[in-house]
Assembly symmetry: C2
Homo-oligomer: 310 residues x 2
């Protein structure tokens, strides 16, 4: 049988890594030859979850090998967020919870996107639909993904279905949702060993908005001030990325996981669109506090896209 490779987006977050692992597990249990993979390094947050539930990280791939016939995308569909040679492979399935954009296939496929907070929530449903029991380690991974994407169920992207799945999975995984969740987020918010370049690339995604190219990087932090101590260095590195990728806007989002706000730094010719999109005024340092904004997908991409396509 042809091997199928399952992977999430570049700069993988916990949902992307855990969903690839879980969906490969489900596919294998259903008799398919599937292997999980990742397109980047594992974050501290994700590593905490993998260690806690004793699961190995998926293999790192730079591109899809020629002998791989089919791929399944989880947690993303926009080609610029996917593997380099995505246009040369046959995509047989997509399981996702994002907007759909810059995605196309020659042939019909199984495409399942649901407006829930996390890909893992959809996978939890799919285990049930297929009558396959979720084991303790997989429950731990799916739970970690939900906690990560929903910032411990506090993000506006989090739906009733995510909350129900989280409590159900916490029980199978044998952990207390709040205690485990906060420990995991804290592990991810430890940025002490990160370089300035790490901060702006570790969870960066590129988007097409109208005719504009926009990159949005996000980090979770306990103390946002600590990060902006390095503002001059941040700006230098971001300016270089804008130049290299010919971006119209780079938005660096530092999310305060205790207060659930984000302090953003906006650079690029289209930075004024940040003011209009969020009804704020960037200060002299090109920064603004976005009160109550924690979700890149629901609160940032949506508002910015609207502004860029006006």
């Amino acid at each position: 049988m042809d091997k199928t490779l399952i992977f999430g987006h570049k700069n993988p977050d916990t949902d992307t890594i855990c969903s690839a692992l879980a969906y490969a597990d489900l596919k294998n249990k259903l008799g398919f030859d599937a292997e999980p993979a990742r397109l980047g390094s594992v974050s501290k947050e994700t590593q905490f979850a993998l260690d806690y539930f004793s699961v190995d990280a998926p293999q790192f791939i730079e591109k899809v090998d020629e002998d791989v016939k089919n791929v399944i995308l989880v947690d993303h569909n926009e080609f610029q967020q996917s593997v380099e040679n995505i246009k040369d492979v046959r995509i047989t399935e997509v399981i996702d919870h994002h907007r759909i954009s810059n995605f196309e296939t020659k042939e019909p496929l199984y495409f399942r996107a649901e407006p829930v907070g996390c890909t893992a929530t959809i996978l939890n449903k799919m285990y049930k639909e297929n009558g396959v029991a979720v084991t303790k380690d997989i429950a731990g991974l799916l739970l970690s993904a939900i906690i990560s994407d929903s910032l411990l169920l506090k993000s506006p992207t989090c739906t009733k279905v995510d909350v129900e799945a989280a409590y159900e999975l916490a029980e199978i995984a044998g952990v207390n949702l709040e205690t485990y969740g906060f420990e995991m987020l804290q592990a991810g918010a430890d940025l002490s060993d990160k370089s300035v370049l790490d901060l702006i690339t570790m969870d960066a995604k590129e988007f097409s908005m109208g005719d504009a190219k926009v990159e949005i990087a996000q980090v979770n932090a306990i103390d946002t001030k600590k990060i902006y101590q390095f503002q001059t260095d941040l700006e230098t590195e971001i300016a270089q990325i804008i130049k290299d990728k010919n971006l119209d806007l780079f938005l660096f989002v530092v999310t305060d996981i205790l207060n659930n706000d984000s302090e953003v730094l906006a650079l690029g010719e289209a930075k004024d669109n940040v003011n209009k999109a969020f009804n704020v005024t960037l200060d002299d340092n090109n920064r603004a506090l976005l009160k109550g904004v924690v979700s890149r997908k629901k609160q940032i991409v949506t508002n910015l896209t609207e502004e860029f396509t006006k």
Copy 2:
């Protein structure tokens, strides 16, 4: 509650009309305010099904009214096949069985595409998943859609799931699948009152293939020769469409529903791609017989796209 409009593609076929009707029925039974609509006139084949099961055709719309907040697309996703102002509306769901192309949203949505022969097959599943019984008239519509899209279960697009759904629905609808199916296809293949322009527009779809614009029109017929009696007129009308829409290729596909072959007429600057895609040679009349080819989606669009994107 906000009203949701549900519709299929332009130049509606039986799957598009019946799926819009059925999904609106399911949504209403689940407590949502949904209304079916159509983007073009009802074909004889579809009218036969509607008459047989005493169901009214959905309302015709030219564009989505401003007071409609949400729309659901069935049986298509490519914007050029949809309503004129598709980019101005909020798409909350898509239920489809085609390739995905030229589709994008600002926000996450429920997108369900499955590689089956017919949208109605997916809807039949969704009735079950939601614990809603399919009534006799809806069963008749869903069955008609499957028969139409699968040419009475003979098309290569037809899967095991479609076949099972068809027999199940025939029982609920209280008809013999083969007898009813052949009568319905025959009604559709009666082209006696069609003008030449009707023939090339009644089931035409436009596709982007690489940088090329391709339109493919298909009609079912009992006797393909009868249609090509009017070849000169067909060519004149097609040439005008190519000019108006700036097409690279117009492919007119006459499908013989008794022998399950198609005789095609290819016009436009890129007509040589038809030879390469199907390993045939267009004759002096720009025509070729494609043996065993009945499915636009699986046998024609796939091969042509490959040729155009080489």
